[in-house]
């Protein structure tokens, strides 16, 4: 197990390195630069600006410089948000994005697993069809549709919650964004749980547990549910990746000052360093969370072989 874990952890670095290298050069292939404004700058000024940011150097030299900065935790200056470094920008928004994402995953687990279990135990009943029908909708509806609809119903018509915005420490502002973000994950977890629980319920050890007279409640909670949740655990990696990318939209819809919006703004403005910074931070985040999910899976399921 230790050797397996170590190898997996070390395996993250080459992947990250390839991602950084690929995105660095692909982004530079793009036509236009950060200083192409609607009103063209005089060539001398543009040249000076580019020299100041080191953009006049050969691409390989810029790349090596960027890498050596990264090692020291320096993501470079932002081209559009002058006076801010990319590190500062991301550090400001990341806590809100993380809070949003982690709450959404937690909510999805708390709601999705019971719903899926219920549907499996009442297989082919109206309850089952109802839950699974809603789940298909939940998966099909993108958050940029559900988000505005929730804001409309619960914010504008019912006035239960704020439509959008953010005040530090006010959790009311997080409710709608978290629900919006969690909805497809809830639906997917419910479907996964139902499917694998149905499979487990047909196995011999569940029949044995029933045969020796255990109460149904104990059969489900103690014996069936634990192996049935393995697919859910392995879905947690992709789920966090989904939640991370989903936060791009949800932060835009609900006007949250998270860091997700920087990726889009950076792409629109050709703000190379900002886009790169986002890719490095969110890329490592995804890789780490996938790794954690894998390790938990290996720990829960002794059948996973470590070679």
């Amino acid at each position: 197990m230790m050797r397996y874990a170590l190898r997996r952890i070390l395996g993250v670095f080459p992947t990250l390195f390839i991602i950084i290298t690929l995105s660095f050069f692909v982004i530079r292939l793009a036509p236009g630069g950060p200083f192409d404004e609607e009103q063209a700058l005089p060539p001398e000024i543009k040249a000076n600006l580019e020299a100041a940011y080191g953009l006049d150097r050969p691409l390989t030299e810029q790349y090596l410089r960027y890498l050596s900065g990264l090692v020291r935790g320096d993501f470079g200056p932002s081209f559009k948000f002058k006076d801010f470094s990319v590190t500062e920008l991301i550090a400001q928004g990341l806590p809100i994005s993380l809070l949003l994402g982690l709450s959404a995953v937690a909510l999805a687990l708390l709601v999705g697993i019971p719903l899926g279990t219920l549907a499996a135990l009442r297989q082919n009943s109206p309850t089952d069809y109802g839950i699974m029908g809603v789940a298909v909708l939940g998966i099909a509806l993108p958050s940029f549709v559900t988000g505005p609809l929730f804001a409309l119903v619960f914010g504008l018509y019912l006035r239960w919650l704020p439509v959008a915005g953010w005040e530090t420490g006010q959790l009311r502002y997080l409710v709608l964004p978290v629900v919006t973000l969690a909805l497809p994950v809830i639906a997917y977890i419910a479907r996964l749980t139902r499917g694998s629980l149905l499979e487990v319920l047909r196995t011999n050890f569940v029949r044995t547990a029933r045969a020796k007279g255990l109460p149904e409640r104990q059969v489900i909670l103690k014996h069936a549910l634990r192996p049935a949740l393995l697919p859910v655990v392995s879905y947690l990696g992709p789920a966090t990746a989904f939640v991370i990318t989903g936060s791009l939209v949800v932060e835009t819809v609900f006007g949250l000052p998270g860091s997700g919006r920087y990726l889009v703004q950076g792409a629109i403005n050709r703000d190379y360093t900002l886009v790169m910074g986002m890719i490095v931070v969110y890329g490592s985040l995804t890789l780490t969370l996938n790794l954690v999910a894998d390790l938990i899976y290996g720990w829960l399921d002794p059948r996973v072989r470590y070679d």
Partner: protein, 317 residues
């Protein structure tokens, strides 16, 4: 894939060394290997019995017809401004059947215009990803060994980054508004899951007797791939392609919603939803009209994909 749709394959599959075993993403070998005329007739019968899937297919055909014929029925062009009727709700005393937007442009024509773009892009990107994914997966699976390992390692690395990041990076590469080129590019990186599925299927059939027979009679590797491997993995490929279309539609709306896709005065469901969300306090129809079209399309494609899976992969019955 599917960083947008949460139905991504479990991440474990990425980490098992390629060539070790058939990856779990493969939806069961049974679907492809027993393929025969009887199989297809059987699948069609099962599909016809699935009411949800048949209804979804009907709705998709209807929406497609309306999207391509409907705009001609309205007297308005998608970018024409009607100065007399700005932001009027649907059903008013004018010929704007679904109302107009803030600039007085006809919402019925603009929405159908958006549906056209969505459908075209969904198909285009899916076709591109289908071609690359099937070729890549079948080649890697059939050749095996070092080449397989290299090819699938490449897939793993691309997989590690959320797909939408690749999409956003690509969107900076092309002139804004050149949406078709953008989606050829997006399709060109959207083949990862397809490649995995096809590779898994190929591994499971490449030791079968009919391949050996072909080898023994001296058929070349490319034609074994094209004539014997690919036709036999077509079942899962169809299922997955049906599920890729809504995903690509979703990516397009997503990019347009964020302002990275279709540009004014062109309309896409995503950009219309974005405009509508900003106006929803005073003009809720601007949000509801494009949103309901998008939701209908996505739901129908998902139901159809699920139905096809049940019909072509009867493992779970």
């Amino acid at each position: 894939m599917t960083e947008l749709a949460p139905g991504a394959a479990p991440s474990q599959a990425l980490t098992t060394p390629p060539g070790a075993a058939t990856p779990q993403v493969a939806p069961g070998p049974a679907a492809a290997t027993v393929a025969s005329r009887g199989f297809w007739a059987d699948a069609w019968r099962r599909l016809k019995r699935n009411k949800a899937a048949m209804m979804a297919a009907t709705v998709i055909v209807l929406v497609t017809l309306v999207a391509f014929v409907g705009p001609a029925l309205s007297p308005h062009a998608f970018d024409a401004i009607d100065w007399e009727n700005m932001a009027v709700p649907p059903g008013g005393p004018n010929d704007h059947w679904l109302g107009t937007d803030r600039l007085g442009r006809d919402l019925y024509v603009r929405t159908l215009h958006g549906v056209q773009i969505s459908l075209q892009i969904g198909l285009l990107a899916t076709l591109v990803s289908l071609c690359i994914g099937v070729t890549w997966g079948a080649t890697a699976g059939y050749l095996g060994g070092r080449i397989d390992e290299l090819m699938m390692r490449f897939v793993d690395v691309l997989y590690a980054l959320p797909y939408i990041f690749i999409v956003i990076i690509l969107s900076t590469l092309f002139e804004r508004g050149n949406i078709y080129v953008l989606f050829v590019a997006i399709g060109a990186v959207g083949w990862l899951t397809m490649a995995r599925i096809v590779r898994g299927q190929t591994l499971s059939i490449k030791r079968k007797e009919f391949i050996e027979a072909a080898l023994a009679s001296g058929v070349s590797t490319p034609s074994i791939l094209a004539r014997h491997i690919v036709p036999n993995v077509i079942g899962p490929v169809i299922i997955y392609a049906t599920l890729t279309i809504p995903q690509m539609i979703l990516f397009e709306s997503f990019l347009s919603f964020l302002g990275l896709g279709v540009q004014e005065p062109q309309a896409s469901l995503g950009s219309l939803i974005n405009e509508g969300a900003q106006e929803m306090e005073s003009a809720v129809w601007m949000l509801l009209v494009p949103a309901s079209f998008l939701v209908t399309l996505l739901t129908c494609f998902n139901f159809l994909g699920d139905g096809l899976r049940d019909a072509l992969d009867p493992r779970d019955r």
